[in-house]
């Protein structure tokens, strides 16, 4: 599975010239715990999180640029999610801006990896159930039911994957 398959495409960013007082409401309003910080050209220059805001000893008028994590670790959309996971674990970070040809195209967070694993888990459970039913229909010689079962499972898997992934990447 690729980063592009699980990343959030709805971009919420914080301008590099913002203060912590500007950044906090952006995170709260969008119900996110961190966001990429971008300069006037749209390039990612860092990532600011709730923790950065809370931990910074300066006041709320502190520029975001002084509190953010920089330079930002980023990843390309065509990379495997395992690579994104490895970077997040090694750097102990929660999110990675997704950048293609220098342009910010999404963000992938640990929650997205959890969701991807959850989808795999559900799909595996569906497959197991499908195999059980297939064996049952085979033993009964019920070919029509066998085919109907296969089609139903494929449709269910497709609907589930689309619903779970699209919900977050829209």
């Amino acid at each position: 599975m690729k980063v592009a398959d699980v990343m959030t495409r709805r971009l919420v960013t914080v301008p590099a010239d913002a203060t912590l007082a500007d950044a906090a409401p952006i995170l709260v309003r969008n119900r996110i715990s961190g966001a990429p910080v971008v300069d006037s050209t749209g390039s990612v220059v860092g990532v600011v999180s709730e923790a950065d805001i809370l931990r910074h000893p300066g006041g709320v008028e502190t520029p975001v640029a002084e509190a953010m994590s920089a330079p930002a670790r980023t990843i390309e959309p065509g990379r495997r999610i395992a690579e994104a996971a490895r970077i997040m674990v090694e750097a102990r970070i929660n999110r990675l801006p997704v950048v293609e040809d220098g342009e910010l195209v999404g963000i992938v967070a640990r929650a997205d990896l959890v969701r991807a694993l959850a989808v795999e888990e559900i799909e595996a459970a569906i497959e197991t159930r499908a195999l059980e039913r297939e064996r049952l229909h085979q033993s009964n010689g019920d070919h029509a039911a066998l085919e109907a079962n296969r089609l139903a499972i494929v449709r269910l898997q497709q609907q589930l994957s689309r619903a779970l992934i699209a919900e977050h990447t829209a």
């Binding site: 495997r80 999610i81 395992a82 690579e83 996971a85 490895r86 997040m88 674990v89 102990r92 929660n94 640990r110 929650a111 990896l113 959890v114 969701r115 991807a116 694993l117 959850a118 795999e120 888990e121 559900i122 595996a124 779970l164």
Partner: protein, 57 residues
């Protein structure tokens, strides 16, 4: 704070834990010993990310 406790049983598949986290929109689950319900630890999205990265090796 959350008042409901989401818990996970030791020995459960990591994928199932991920499913629980997604369903309940939480970033941590408590892991408990099944017979006694004694808390054994906490599983977070960081550990799930670790499992995803290990799965590719």
């Amino acid at each position: 704070m959350r008042t409901a406790i989401e818990n996970d049983r030791a020995g459960i598949r990591v994928g199932r834990a991920a499913q629980l986290m997604t369903e309940h929109a939480v970033a941590h689950v408590a892991v408990v010993d099944p017979p006694t319900a004694r808390p054994l630890g906490v599983l977070s999205t960081l550990e799930i990310a670790g499992a995803v990265s290990e799965a590719d090796r």
